[in-house]
Symmetry: C2
């Protein structure tokens, strides 16, 4: 894979990005819990771990190890390639 568009194609991964924005530096377990709370997504720990790995691979998530935990941050820089590729009209999105 290794493609920002494919990374964004999964709804669970998009929800993960949403949660990482609400609170920075979350651990894997924190993300799991918040997914269940705010989105009703009951993904297993391994599933979320793999999603985070995909997001990290394309640069949408940056990580830092602290002891036995791993903290995750959202990084929107890769999204710039989407914005610059196609013309986007101004104004509010209708949805």
């Amino acid at each position: 894979m290794a493609d920002i568009y494919r990374a964004l194609a999964d709804p669970t991964r998009r929800a993960i990005l949403d949660e990482l924005i609400k609170r920075e530096g979350q651990t894997l377990f924190e993300v799991c819990g918040r997914l269940a709370m705010a989105h009703g997504i009951a993904s297993s720990r391994q599933a979320v771990s793999q999603h985070l790995a995909v997001l990290e691979e394309v640069g949408l998530v940056r990580t830092e190890r602290q002891g036995r935990t791993k903290l995750h941050w959202f990084d929107g820089s890769p999204l710039k390639s989407i914005v610059s590729r196609w013309p986007i009209p101004r104004g509010k999105s209708k949805s």
Copy 2:
């Protein structure tokens, strides 16, 4: 499906959007030819037709029938939902 993120996940569909920007109101056969010329993509007519259907379903492509041909236009409006969902830093994209 019916999801702009899934629609953008396919490289061929992204190339189709690129070509529709270069020249507006293209027919199915024009898109096929330009994909082969500019991107080296040798997709069959049916494959391109299905891709266009997906893009139209999510609003990234608008169409208009003219006799026995069907013309296609790019519409970037749905992309606004991506921009407004996550914070995107300013500046040029690194890639």
